[in-house]
């Protein structure tokens, strides 16, 4: 235990957002951020990041490969509020407007070692058909005020109720965020 300072444990995460499967879209980029509880604080590394734009691979699987690195260290006193990584994927629509293509979140793995995670992605639906059309036409699709909402339970109930009949995963899924090397909880 470090003298003087309060005891914390550290959680080191490094990995990468590997690739995504968005069969319908191309030229996407992704943004990641972390959501964590009150007892957590990042001590090193980047809390947020925006990747490069990537094109679909030419092969059959048509993966969008980013291989975008993640490297962050947290300190915490309480496992409650374990960090979650929130990914939001954006890309141009038919008219070239940047629109959101998917949101997704997953907890940082709990055990040390190499992990691969596949995160299903979804987008909020427009409230009505008309809005759907206008949003498509104007290139202003419904978006979360804050992508971090997807990692929280609070208020989510209003989205399926009011927005999409179901938050659909039909925008299929981004295979993302794999290979996280997590150094496990170790008291310092």
């Amino acid at each position: 235990m470090a003298a003087g300072g309060p005891s914390v444990f550290l959680l080191m995460v490094n990995g990468q957002v590997e690739s995504a499967q968005f069969p319908e879209f191309d030229n996407l980029y992704c943004k990641y951020c972390f959501v964590y509880g009150q007892d957590w604080a990042p001590t090193a590394g980047l809390e947020e990041g925006i990747s490069q734009i990537t094109s679909k691979s030419r092969d059959a699987c048509q993966a969008l490969v980013w291989n975008f690195p993640i490297d962050i260290t947290f300190k915490s006193t309480n496992p409650f509020g374990w960090p979650q990584i929130v990914l939001s994927v954006y890309g141009p629509d038919v008219f070239g407007n940047d629109v959101v293509r998917g949101y997704g979140a997953v907890h940082v793995p709990f055990s040390p070692g190499r992990h691969k995670r596949t995160i299903p992605m979804f987008v909020p639906e427009s409230t009505s058909k008309l809005q759907k059309f206008t949003s498509w036409f104007m290139g202003r699709r419904p978006e979360y005020t804050d992508p971090k909402v997807v990692a929280q339970g609070e208020g989510r109930e209003v989205v399926p109720h009011r927005a999409s009949p179901s938050v659909r995963t039909s925008h299929s899924m981004a295979a993302g965020l794999p290979a996280e090397h997590v150094k496990g909880p170790s008291p310092v």
Binding site: P6, S7, V8, F9, Q21, P23, Q38, D39, W40, A41, S76, T77, N78, F80, P124, S126, T127, S128, K129, L130, Q131, T134, S135, M138, R140, P142, E143, Y144, T145, D146, K148, V149, E154, G155, R156, E157, V158, V159, H161, R162, A163, P165, S166, T169, S170, S172, P187
Partner: protein
Amino acid sequence: MNPREEKVKIITEEFIENDEDANVGKRKKNSKVQRQLRKKQPPTTGPDKMVSEESHPGNQQEPAQDEPQTRLLSVTARRGPCSLPPIPSASRTGFAEFSMRERMREKLQAARSKAESALLQEIPTPRPRRLRSPPVKELETEFGTESGKEVGSTQQEDDFQSYSRVKFHVSARKIKSKPQVPPGFPSAEEAYNFFTFTFDPEPEEAGEKLKHQDGTDQEEEEGEEEPPAQEGANRMDEEELLHGKDAEDFLLGLDHTADEFLAVRRADYESAHVRLQREKEMLFIPSRLTVPTYKKLPENVQPRFLEDEGLYIGERPEVARTNQNIMENRLLMQEPVRWFGDDGRILALPNPIKPFPSRPPVLTQEQSIKAELETLYKKAVNYVHRSQHMIGSGDPSGNFQLDIDISGLIFTHHPCFSREHVLAAKLAQLYDQYLARHQRNKAKFLTDKLQALRNAVQTGLNPEKPHQSLDMIQKTINEYKSEIRQTRKLRDAEQERDRTLLKTIIKVWKEMKSLREFQRFTNTPLKLVLRKEKVDQKADEEAYEAEIQAEISELLEEHTEEYEQKMEEYRTSYQQWKAWKKAQRAKKKKKKQATEEHPEEETEEPYAEEDPVKPTPPEPTDRAVIEQQVRERAARSRRRPGEPTLLPELSLAGSVTPNDQCPRAEVWRREDVKRRSVHLKVLFNNKQVCRTASRQLGTDFRVHFGQIFNLQIFNWPESLTLQIYETVGHSSSILLAEVFLPIPETTVVTGRAPIEEVEFSSNQHATLDHEGVGSGVPFSFEADGSNQLILMTSGKVSHSVAWAIGENGIPLIPPLSQQNIGFRSALKRADAISSIGTSGVTDMKKLAKWAAESKLDPNDPNNAPLMQLISVATSGESYVPDFFRLEQLQQEFNFVSEEELNRSKRFRLLHLRSQHVPEFRNYKQIPVYDREIMEKVFQDYEKRLQDRNVIETKDHIDTHRAVVAKYLQQVRESVINRFLIAKQHFLLADLVVEEEVPNISILGLNLFKLAEQKRPLRPRRKGRKKVTAQNLSDGDIKLLVNIIRAYDLPVRKPTASKSQQPSRSSRTFREKHAASPDTRSPTHSADYPLGQVLVRPFVEVSFQRTICHTTTAEGPNPSWNEELELPFRAPNGDYSTASLQSVKDVVFINIFDEVLYDVLEDDRERGNGIHTRIERHWLGCVKIPFSTIYFQARIDGTFKIDTPPVLLGYSKEQNMIIERDFDSVRSLSEGSYITLFITIEPQLVPGESVREKFDSQEDEKLLQATEKFQAECALKFPKRQCLTTVIDISGKTVFITRYLKPLNPPQELLNVYPNNPQATAELVARYVSLIPFLPDTVSFAGLCDLWSTSDQFLDLLAGDEEEHAVLLCNYFLFLGKKAWLVMGNAIPEGPTAYVVTWEKSHYLIWNPCSGHFYGQFDTFCPLKNVGCLIGPDNIWFNIQQYDSPLRINFDITKPKLWKSFFSRSLPYPGLSSVQPEELIYQHTDKAVAAELQDSRIEKILKEKIMDWRPRHLTRWNRYCTSTLRHFLPLLESSQGEDVEDDHRAELLKQLGDYRFSGFPLHMPYSEMKPLIDAVYSTGVHNIDVPNVEFALAVYIHPYPKNVLSVWIYVASLIRNR
């Protein structure tokens, strides 16, 4: 041409040529006609018609007309109206008719001779060509249609309606005209013949024609009056009748015509009775009565209730009793037996309906089907094992193998068994039994045992063992003897059984032999050989005899023993009897005496005792009898001596008679057997996993499979089932039976498992037409059919099941622990309760009771674990606690005791945080260890908890205020709790950014925008994006304060000690210098007032202890134009809306004068350096609460600076006013002003008011009216405030006018200026303004505006604008003024309430919080918008174009300007007021006020000032203080006006040597903190001149009801050298 005519003509032609082609050809001439024809084909040809119609390019019809036709499938088309066709020429018609008739007759004559008889019978069968013929008759109608279309396409709709009417009309006429046979027509018979000829057009055609002719005739008779158009329509409608309905009508038409030509007879009448009779023959009406059970069962069979026998019967589906009866009756009529079960009810499967739907809920949204059908890409995944039955999840060694070896199948009975086979099977069975018995040879074993025992007894009797006591020997011998007895009995039974078995075998064999002889062929190779083993006759006999003798002797012994025993018993009982007899005799004697004395007792006697029966002595046993018995038994069960031992041997050595020597029936049987094949299916966990090959049934009814199945399993085996299927020929296989195999023990591995046989039997019923006996049907071996047998198909499967062994010799068995899981999980699946059960403690009694009440079927396998549990529990074997524990494992998981957990500081902290306790709501990084948590963390919280109960008087000087504060706190808490839940609800807009639904205006705007310039030269201001408060953190929010300029600041006065009267010239001179102040001003010392600038003000903004200030400007009207940025921190880092609303911080904008003093001691150094000291003197301040900024989003305007009434050393430039010609303005504005712009960056979305409806005691109608009124107002002027109902302090909706009512102000205020109403009014306003201000939004973060009544307000001594305004308005009403409440917007308060009074000729606007009043046309009036006026009996909404008080007319009597709530349509109902009748004022205790003044406030403030100056010595000038203290009451009495000059003079007189700066502060008193803050904000303490002295005086003027006016006089003094 007339349509009619046309039609007739065509028909004629048709007849002549009798060639349809020609007909068609003809039609082709007229494309229209043809089209019509097609159209008129029966409705079934609809589509074709459509096609043909459209394929006509030369169609004259407009496409527009075509369309509806197509849609309505030509119905509308036919509905076309009729127009005037060309006038028919009657003569031509006549001719046409005539010629046609002629030809027809000719034809008829010719045809009749040929085919008369046949045709009469034959129904004209339609030929393919015929299908085309009906159109002929429709021709004419089509014409009508066509013409209608051509002429009056517009008419169509009208006709659509008239259509039905016409139709009725026509049909009526049709009926009428039917019987008429017009003259000149062929006779009925003729016509009939004619119409029945096959080559003819269809009969109805003619019928039509006839009818039409009728019509024609009629019409002709009617003359020209009836327009032909109408006629055409009729025609057409008739056609429609035919078409529109359908072919049935068509046929009806035919019938009509037939009737016309047939002889009319009386209708055959069948009496109802006869018909019923006939129906009875034909029909069966199942009765509803219950069918007696015996009918449903085979004869002489008692109903058998399986349920009563303890077998499980599933719940039957619910069927109404009557329906069931009907069905049963019906079934009985057909095949009685098959459908009924043993219990006489219809066979039924258990109710398959589950009480809960298992289908996932269907998403009922718009894209229902499409979304459902959408293909989703899913990556292929490995099979995920079902539920938790899986073994070794993810374990690579999780492949376990079960080897199932199915070696064969033997039928012990089969429908194809011949009689011989039956016997053979029986024999084989018996032989097997025999062999088994023989192997065990129990009889021999028992015989040996008997022998041994006898020997033992023999030896035991020998007295050779002296060491054993006699008793012991006797005892063992007795035991031996009893054992001998037992063994002998067992041996006898065994021997007897052996013997009977042997006998049966022989008997069956004999039967078989006789059967073989009888039927003269053999079916089975079975052969029984009895081997006789010769025995030595003599030895055998001896042994036999010896055995018998031994037995006899033993028996004798037993009997004698028994006899002796009995004798003994007899003797004792005899003795007893004797004694009794004696006693009896004695009694009798006594009785004789007694009867004389007590005759009544006699009767009781006989009942008292019963006579013991005289015992009979036992008979001694007779040896002869015993011997007889023994011998009899031996003869029965034992081989006779000398008789050879019979050893049966069954062999298959016999030969089966070949087919050709067998009778036919037997051959059939054998062939049938050959056709049959059998296969097995292996079911693992109720899933078929494999299937054996299908093998033919052998003649010996054995099937050899010899197949081994290796089952690789993942799931724990729960069941293993074999299903036996039989296939006959090529038909489908029938399930014969199911056999359940036990799951092998884990020790059973392949190679070690024995072949086992499992018996099966089937309830199949089969009757065969050959020698086969069938199964389930009675048959007999006897010729006369007696002694019937019923055999069911049965057999044995030999198999072995074992666990496989892996490559390295490890058996592939799931680990033992898995088995438990499997078991547990199986249990779990069966019932949730059982999974709680067993290990956990549950309330068994209740469970059992529940089970009994809910009538659980104990036989239902689903309930088995539960029932077992209950039976165990209720049997009382286990301890049943009388409590129920939900989480029975909780105890095990409690790693620490409850007390310890509560003691843990960390846990407590976490707990409090999760409860959203304000102090901890945003606590971050709760330490890991208890030891790291400081005790002081909880101090505040604990203190608060304590304070809740203890009234603390430290901060609140008088107890009353403490009570109020506590009460307020409680109300606040309860209200907050109430709204906390409501606030949790998010709206979609909070989470999702979405474009609004575009309406026309937005769309139009957007379109307009398209044309807009991309980069306009003069950009327009755009609204900032609003930010919801939830995702903010520290440092995100900034407060922007734009200080623009100030007007009319006080200017310094030259130190009066010099008393230089400033001259006019000097002023101008000074004025000049003011223009360029930088050059000279700092260098001037205080001694040179001429060179000094008037004032060098700067603005300091302090917020949340952050201080920013502007640069220094010059002069009394400075312009800064600077933007200050202050960070904002929410309390506890909580940026939620609720928290932001409750921020109580205030932005202080202080204006200071920067004064430079030269401190240079030595004049010689003046050239080398500048030594000045900066002092700053407070000039005034503006306070703006943060909540106002938060709700207003921005504050923009000019504000009056709150300057102290007396500012020592400063004065207003009164002299210069005249000079500058400012009169008009200055006269209005007394005081200084500052122009500000304040906003928050980024813009925060203020929370919306609680979306909740409050209950109300108001009349429902009134509430509706208010809603309506508000909606109307909002529609017209959405931005103007309109208030009709408010929420009172208990949370109820109250109509607003109920708050207004004249209320008495304190009497002492009224007494001050009895003759000056204006002064009184001002005094009252001042009184009201002295009540502390506490915004609702702060106290009630739930955003609802709570209105308290005036007495509540005075009790609480806190409230916001509404309460102040209401109270002020009520006072004014009491004073007899015309006063209204004004709802509007003011600066800086935002939406607020003011009071407007009518003062004879003008209106006055009163600010209730400050007590100031303004004229209506005062430009500095803070009230900027007026929404509505509220009086005690009405509400007026401002519907004028403008809402600024400067520009509106306050005359509420004008309905064009003010929309009143209560009007003629809704008169004022006379609402009672919520206010009290009268306000009662207590006099404030002056002593308390004095104490507060001296000892508390003054002391505390002095301490504070000293605290704020930690680096300097703070000296207090007592003399000055006492002087100041004298001034303060004067200030109070004059309300801070017009005292300045006297004041200054006084001071100067007393403190001549001091440079003096100071000011009195005036505040309403609520708490200490605002006072301290106010003093702090003036920055008096900031002077760090070494020889500075301070003076501080406090004066409290008490008003009634504890309203205190506080004056604080602060001054700093610097002694002039």
